[in-house]
Structure formats: C-alpha cells, structure tokens
Symmetry: D2
Subunit: 342 residues, 4 copies
C-alpha cells in the first residue's frame, strides 16, 4: 500500500480525500496535518471518519504521496520542499493552475511563492491532459467550476463548432465556499435563496480561459468568455450551463452534437454523455461528470449542461484520479462508486 | 370594499391571492371556487388562511372583480362569460398572453378557446404597459419567468445598448411547478439537486420573445433569444441571469448602465435597481423585483440579474398590482410589504 | 403614531421587529441602534427593509417605546436607564425572565446587572399573564422555546390532568441560533442533518420550569421537567412535542382534552387549537401558536404538539403583542397576518 | 460471487440495495424486478446506478439470495414460494416482523398472507438477535424507526435501569415515506416545515413494543411506550430521542450509563456510543447507528439519542448485514464505508 499524506485535512476537500481514500485498494492515508486542530484525533474533528485511526499533526510524517489542501499561497510554500525532495504531489489549491505568475498575482493579489515550479506543474484535468498527468510529479488539481465548465465545453471548442463567444452560468452548492465561516454561508442566510456573486470577476475565470484557449485553434479570433457563478441552497453539486453561438455556416443537430461529445469522451471513465438532462443529485458523492449537449435551433446556439459533485470530481475525487495516473494505478481505482441517491 | 372572486383557489397562485388580498385596504375576497375541494372550508384546505371564513364552491358567487387561477385552456373558457358580462378579470393562466392564436396552439398544443378576446387582452406587466392596463377589462398576468426576464432586459433592449443575441438563464424555486404532484417535485428527488429542464423549449419563451420584440426598435435585425430554466431546491424565488453582447461601438460602464436602469424604473413602486447583487431571499413574500445590471468588460457583455418571488411578483402580487391599476386604486395598495427575512 | 426605538436592530429579532412594525397602524420605528453597523443605513444591512429610511445609530434618539434586542447582560444594562426615565420597555433578552437573580446567575454565568428591577418586570406571555402585562412598564419577552412549550402545557398543568412528570422535545429552525456565525449553523454542516444539543441543560429550562410551577397547584408534588431541544434544517419554526402521564384516575378523551384547551384559549387571538396535527409552515411569518393535544390511550399519556414561528410568536411578534397591551392598542394590531405558505 | 435478486427495485430501499451491493466483495446483483418499470434498463430509471448493466424484469431470474422490497402484503405473497424453494430471503417489508398474525391484521388492516411462515421468520436486528439471524432462512428486516429506537433503548431496558414508561420521539427525513407521491412529500409542502404525524398510532409501534417486551425482564410491570414520529425537511436520516425515568433507587451517572452502553455494543461493528451528541449527518450513506445516552439529573430521567440513515441501517444496509450473517460472510462485508460529509 502506498502511504499517503494530506496537508490541511481539516477543510472539506481534505476530509473528502480521507473519506475516498479509505475505499482505495492501493493507497492508505497514514498521515494528516492541520494547524488549528493539531493534536486532536481525526475522528474527533470529523466523526464520519471514525474508522481512520489517525491523529492530526502539525507536520506530515514520511509518506509516499502528498495531497495539499491548503489555501492558495500557503499551499505553494508547503509544496516546494516536497517537490524538491522528489515526492509526487497533487496540489488542490489554485497555486499551480495558472501558468503565468503575473496572471496569478493579478487575480490572487499575492506574488507567486514559487514561480520556478510553474513550468513543471501539469494542469490535472485528465480528460484533456492524461499523458502529461501520467508523467507529472506536481499536478495542479483544477478548480471546481473550471472542471464543470471545461468538460462541458472542450469538445465544442476543440471541434470548432461554436463561435468564440461563450457564456458560462454555474450554480454551486454551498460547500464550495469551504468550511470557514461567513455570513453568506450562514444557514439562515443561504437557505431559501439563490444569489449571483463575484460579478466583478471570479478567480476561476482565468483558469477557464487559459484552458479553453489551449483548445481553441482558430488564430483569427480570441475567445470571449463570461463566467458567472451562483450559490444555490444545497450542500454539494455544481450544475454548469454553457452557451455559445453555433459556428457560422454549421448546421448542428442534437444527434450530431451528442455523437461528437460521445466520441470525445469515449475513453474517459468519469464522463458520461447522457440521453436526458442530468441533475446534480446523480453525481452526489462520486467522481462522475454528466454532460448533456443540445442545440437551440431557434437561436442557433449550443447549450451544454454538466453536473459534478464539487467535492469529488471538483476536488478530492479528481485529485485521486490524478494520483492514480501519476502512480500507474487504474484510473478509476477507489473511485468506482455509484452516486448516493436520493 | 370591492368584492373579489378567485377561480381555482386551490393552487399556489390562488392561495397566495387569498393571503395577499387579506391585507388589501379596498378589496375583500368574498367568493372562491375550486373543483376538487368544492364544499370544504378554505381554512381546512389551507390552514394558513384560517382568518378567511369562506367555503370553497364549485361556482363563484356574484363579485365585482375576478382572478382566474385555472390552468391554461380551462381558464379562457371560464373567463369568456365573465368578460361578456363586463366583469373586470385578471387571468393568471397563459391563455391571453400570446397575441397570436396560432403561436398559442403551437406551444400549448390546444386550439385557443377564445381567440376573439385576444385583441382585447392586455399583457399585464405594469412597468411596460401601465396605461393599457389601466384601461383594460381583461388582463393577462405574465408568467413568472417572463416577469423576471423582461424586467431585467427591458431597459437594455429598449435603450438599444445590446446586440440582439440574448441568453436568459433562470433559476426557480419549486413552487413554480405548482401544487400538482410529480416525481420531479417529490421532496427526496428535488432536494439537494439542481436540474435544467424544458431544454427543447419552455412555454414561457414565446411570451418573452413577443414582449422583447415589442421593445426592440432596430428593424435590421431580429432578436435571438435562448431561455433556459432550472429548478433549484427552495420553495420560492426566481433569480434570472441575462447575458447579451454590448452593442457594437458602445462603451458601456457599470455606472452608465445603472443610471439607464434607474431612470427607466424611476416611477415604478415595485422595481429597485440595487447597489449590490441581490438574492431571492430579499423578495421572499413581497412584490418587488430587484435588478442588478453590470458590464463584463473583459467579454464586452451586459450581465443583468433580477430576483422576484415567483408566487408574488411572478403571480398573485402582480395580479393584484394589475387589479389596483384597473380599478383606480393606488398601484401599491395592499402590496407595501417588506420581504420576510431570513 | 407612537415613536418606537429598537436597540440592537442588527440581529434577527431586531430585524423582524422592524419588518412587523412597518405594518403596524399605530406605531412607527423612528430610531434603531446597533454597534457593529452604526452609521450605516438600515436598508444596506437588511435589503428587505428598504422601505424604512433609517440610519443605524450607536444610541437611540428620543422615542416613546423601546424594544431591546441585545444579548443577555448587555440588555439589562441598556434597559435600566430607560426604565428609570419611565419609558415602557419590552426586553427580548433573557435578563428579566427569571425572577430569582441567583437562578439567573447559575444559568447565565454572570451576576445580574439590575436585580432591583426583577420585581417590576412582568413575564410577557399574554395568554397567561395578560392583566399584568397591561400594567407593566418593563416586560420580559419569553424565550422562543418557552413560548411553544408553555402554551402547549399550560391548560394541562393548570387543569391538573397530568402527573408532574413532563418531557418537552422541541425541534427548532436554525434562525433560533441568531445571526452570529458558528460552525453548527454553517450551511453545509446544518443542512441535511438533525441534532440534539444542550443535553446538559438549556438556558430555557429554568424559565419553563418557573412558569409551569406558577400554574401547578398540587403542593404535594413538584414538577419534574425534561427539556430537550433539537436543530432541524429549516430557517424558521419550532415544533414542540410535550409528553406527560395522564393524572391517576383521570379518563381523558381526545375530545375532552380538546374542549379543555379550546376553553382555556377561547379569548386569545393568537392561539388556535387545531382539528388536525399542525406543521410549522402554517405559522411561517405570523404570530400564531397552533396547538394539537391528544391522548395516547395505550400508554395513558397526554401528547401535545405546538407550532410557532420562532422569530414571530417566539420573539418579535410576541414583543409587539406585549407592546399593544402595554399601550392599550388592540392586542392584534399590526399582527393580523396570514402565514406565508407554501 | 453470490447471485442476488432484488424484488421491487424501483423504490428507495430497492435502489439503495443495488447501490450498496455494487460495493460488496462477495455478492453481485444479477436480477432485479419491478412492475411499473418492467422492461426498462435499471440505469434509465436510476441514473446513479449506471454501472449496473441490468434490465428490470417482471420476475426474478434464478438467483442464490433474494431481497424483497415490496410493500407489505405483496411482499409476503412473493416471498412464500421462494422460501418453499429453500432460497434464503431478507424481507424489507413489515410482513414478517410481528410474530402475532392478529396484531399484524390489527395494524395493517389485512389478513396475513402467510401466517405459517411467522414462526420461521427471524427479526433481523443483528445487535439483539445475531445467532438466530445466522441460522435463519427468512429474515424480517426491521423498520427504520424501530431500528433507531430499539438500539437506543435495548441496553437500558435489558439492564433494568429505567422504569417501564418510555417516550420515543423520532425525527425522520422524508425519503422514509418512500418514492410514491403524496402531498405531504411534495417539495413545497415539506420544505421549511416540521410536522408530527400518525398521532393516532404508527405501524412501527407494535414492532417496537414487541421487541422491547422481549428485553424486559420485570414480570411485575409491563412497558408503557409512546412513539411519536415527525417529518423534518431533509432527505435522509432519523434522529430518535428516547426518554424514561431512571429506575427507582438507581443512582445513574452519565459515565455509568456510557459504560453500560459501550459494554452492550462492544462486539457490534455498526453501533458506536459517542462521546458527544451525534447528528444524523454523521451517518449519511452508511450503516452506522450512533448512540449517545445521558442522564437528566434534575428530572432523574434517562435521555438517549440515536442517529441512523433510514435507507441504510434503517433498510438496505441492515438487510445486507443480515445477508452477510445468513451466508457466513464477515458481518461488515461491503458496508465498511465512512459516511458522506458534509
């Protein structure tokens, strides 16, 4: 068994890593760290993890593989010495997602702590980047919103079937905001309410734009992307609805688009192109991304809906998928789980 | 006091009419009908209405004003004799919203029961149509989605600040689906889930397109509108996010757009242009529409968010607003209520 | 119009006072205070209160009546000078609910700031104490749990139909915990979960015991009361289920108990004894307490269910009901509202 | 691999069996039946079960083990021929839970279809009945409420530490009502509301009373049990709060009660006596029952809280636990899962 460490296990992504890895046939969590709760048993902080007999420490013990679930900034600092030692690392923070340190500084407001590692980091969306992930020692786990948006749009952008004018409207459950307290996530404020937020620009936009740009082959026009996230009153799940005009002169049909998408994802264990519009509940607790593309013939527009669990395919599950690739395990090892329904 | 009748009080819109009219200073509900529950006291079917000492009958008694909350088709049939008798009527169904009977048949799958009344019916969105509503004897109360979408878009479309290429992404609470049972509205299925639905085309689309078309003055191009509704796990509320490219050559600023919107709605008691992005909870139980327009400068796109309570401004409250105008009462009579928060 | 001041308007009880008083025909909120938000417009902190054009100040202006919605300890300190000036006050905190300062200290962990006022304070449960409330200048507004429990039990305790061995199992929505942040009220933690809490003893127990003791006439046995509160995932509402053995030798029937309860509350505008078991939704946003008593003949036990909105009958609405009595207004002035359903 | 069949896979218990058995190392679902959906692929009816490539048939194919998830009445009829053939069966319905056919008829309103099998059926609460379950060919899976109540009370009743006067107040998520539609489970009706129901007597009461009676050794007094269920707005979970007077002359301490409970359940893989009051979320999706006993010294009363997932330990998970015992597999095979949190 591979010995796995989780840095900052005390957030939702960290706890979800511990939950999912408990089911992994080849890896075992042997060390977890977390500043605020250091010294406490993991099962005291998270009673649902009672079968894991681990104490939260301030530093990881020796392990073979590390997940960092620290906030941005802190994560890069923690990861640098591990990478130098040659440890394979999946970083769940945003620190290694943007390849341009200046862009990072623009959006995150801090100087990148380790720009020298950026060229080595691989963006860990296996469906677009599998070969590079297999070779990587440092993988930047995608953000939850970018995961849902990129998987919904990649076949269309890559396939050149849309104009470069994209609207991404995302609806996220509230665990996406993390375990830190805030008035917007206070039960009585968030329940029975939907809100748009980050209307001046969300930090996941540059990540989405960067990766869509890599897929976009038409040099004559650059992509115009609007990304608008919303909070909806549920714990888990992101539904992303993407809109773009059908490319000039293309006569898309629903069947044709479905065929394109199915072909694009034919080798991906965690993407399903569905026959009916999906709902987030169908991915509750597992690593699937469900995608439903269709064409609004009246307005000549492609509309694509995707569903993920923000804590699994949008965070911990995808991180384990990346680990599996990095270590040569079957890609779905430990992740072959039906969703929890209803 | 005006004597008011409600046809089909047993749905959510009917019950909400009864609740709100209880607070009205000039009107009193004196007769309510409903097929399934005929003969029962209203307060037995709806315990929250216990102060209304009314029995549900199969036919209305004599009244001075009628609201019909019947389903489409049935509503027009019920309304025809009332209109012939000269009674002022607000019809909450879709029957008199579309001015073209063929379009009605296309979307609703039935021949219009009373096409001769269509020219007399006024589309009851007071903010766009106030003078006509004041003169009308038959008002078609707008759908919940069109209310949120039209109020969000009207100043931009009328003002010519956008290209005719509009995406409307709406998120609705589940009471919008009514009181009739259905698996999609079964608690365990709807809770902890977001879903897109009616992806082949929702019946509110032609209504939105018709009214936006009336506001659109540029003959050279027709509007391309995509409308995509979603169900989110809450009881009440619709948040609508609208997207359209800024018109070629316009250099919109956030402040400029806000000024345009504030001017457009300066005389409207139930529309507020907000300084911060709103949430649906801020309209819970009252007749307000909150609107927040902004400009995504990166993509040169107008993004407008609106919030309403689907059962109030999206149904019963707006119907009372229309009654107030038709009968010469103050527009806000009985509707000057803060939202219920949290 | 009476000028009303609200001390600490920035919590849920304070905001709910402002909402409900907006509907009051004889009173107007003219001054509101709050430390953290002093200087801000009320409608900026609470957008649902936008029709109230008030600025939050650090101290109240001159008013005719004061509600204090401060936390315990701070509230008594703020109230003392007002009472000395002769202003009528309803205190929503716990400071004047317990008549015994030592008992207060035992449960709240602080020395009572104004024990000299305790004899003057009246426990403001109008249904049990109406004449005293009418004469009072300082009314202690009951806690939310005691309101639901006392109204459910008073007729039975007073009527001597039960043994002095009472279990009170209460289920509260999460707004009862207030607007201050806490992990237990963080959306993702509280949603999809029910929890028992305060199992070592909740501060509302001595208040319940004190008032039940006043109703209990049998000197030979004192009451044994267990009170266990639970958090359920909803914003508003408390359902309280009370259990007690039928008094020895009594042969209670459901009809007999209903008659006893109906008689007990026959003059109370805000209590209804219902024919069917109620649900909290039937009181959402209004000042009603719905009560359903029944007898478990198998176990010879009285079971009584009550429903209130914790922020209305459990806090702000009851406070206004008390103000109405203190000032000689009709008891239901401003509070005659149907619940908001669904 | 054992071939497993599920009769009536189309309800929530049936679907949950399929989900959990997908994770089982020794058993595989090879045949599923269901009347309404016969002929459809299982994954079309339940998209979360897409990895199971099964078609729903009207009759089971040949299998080695059967779960029946039919409603009561129908289940016994379906089970009889299987038992006669010698197939081991777990029946999730109520048909074989009550050992007295007359009691069954009294509560379920139908004549028992197979009273001759009642003596052979074993009540499948492994924690109380493990040896008998191991030997059984027909196991009656306990109801969801009895599971939570019996596990909370068994050590106290068996240990003789309480008087025979028990109140059981249970709070259930809405999936407990099943997948069949009903107004009480319609989202807009059930959300933001708590309700007591079945106040005249719930069908799970005789089951609870029967099993508690088997544990109760004091011949001089029979048990008086009141069981009151409530619906709370969440999908899964039951929290049960049990109350009983401490037995005369016993001086119980919290530590003493914890020790008694821990000893009672020391060999049970799915019961944990917790150090802090649990919440239902800590069992979301897994087979645990968390129990927290304490003593209210003021009222000399034992108060015990238990939490389960109604669809797992309260239905499908417990059924698999019984299968494991019947077939000689490790008791926790396929069920060793952390809960899904948050």
């Amino acid at each position: 068994m591979i010995r796995v460490g989780i840095i900052n296990v005390t957030g939702y992504a960290g706890a979800e890593l511990a939950r999912l890895l408990y089911l992994h046939p080849e890896a075992e969590v042997t060390s977890v760290s977390g500043r605020s709760a250091a010294g406490k048993p993991l099962a005291e902080v998270f009673p649902h993890l009672w079968p894991l007999d681990l104490k939260i420490s301030s530093e990881l013990d020796e392990v073979d593989f590390v997940f960092s679930a620290l906030p941005h900034g802190a994560s890069a600092e923690a990861v640098v010495p591990l990478v130098r030692k040659g440890l394979p690392v999946v970083d769940i923070s945003a620190d290694f997602r943007l390849s341009d340190a200046a862009e990072y500084q623009r959006w995150y407001g801090v100087t990148h702590p380790a720009p020298e590692l950026l060229p080595k980091a691989v963006y860990g969306l296996a469906e677009l980047n599998r070969p590079a992930v297999r070779e990587a020692r440092l993988v930047a786990n995608p953000g939850c919103y970018p995961t849902g948006a990129l998987l919904a749009l990649a076949p269309a952008v890559k396939g050149g079937i849309i104009e470069p004018d994209i609207v991404i409207d995302a609806k996220s459950g509230i665990s996406g905001a993390g375990r830190s307290l805030g008035l917007s996530y206070h039960y009585a404020e968030a329940n029975e309410s939907v809100a748009a937020y980050a209307m001046e620009g969300h930090r996941h936009l540059p990540e989405i734009a960067q990766e869509l740009g890599r897929l976009w082959s038409k040099a004559e026009a650059s992509l115009r992307v609007t990304f608008q996230p919303h909070l909806v009153p549920m714990t888990r799940g992101i539904l992303t609805t993407c809109y773009a005009p059908v490319a000039d002169g293309r006569a898309l049909t629903k069947a044709g688009v479905h065929a394109l998408y199915e072909d694009f994802y034919k080798d991906d264990p965690f993407v399903r192109v569905t026959a009916e519009p999906p709902q987030t509940k169908h991915t509750w607790g597992n690593n699937l991304c469900l995608i439903y593309p269709m064409v609004d013939r009246r307005a000549d527009r492609l509309v694509v809906v995707s569903c993920i669990d923000n804590l699994v395919k949008g965070a911990a599950g995808q991180a384990i998928q990346n680990m599996n690739l990095m270590l040569g395990f079957p890609e779905a090892a430990g992740l072959d789980l039906p969703a929890v329904y209803p």
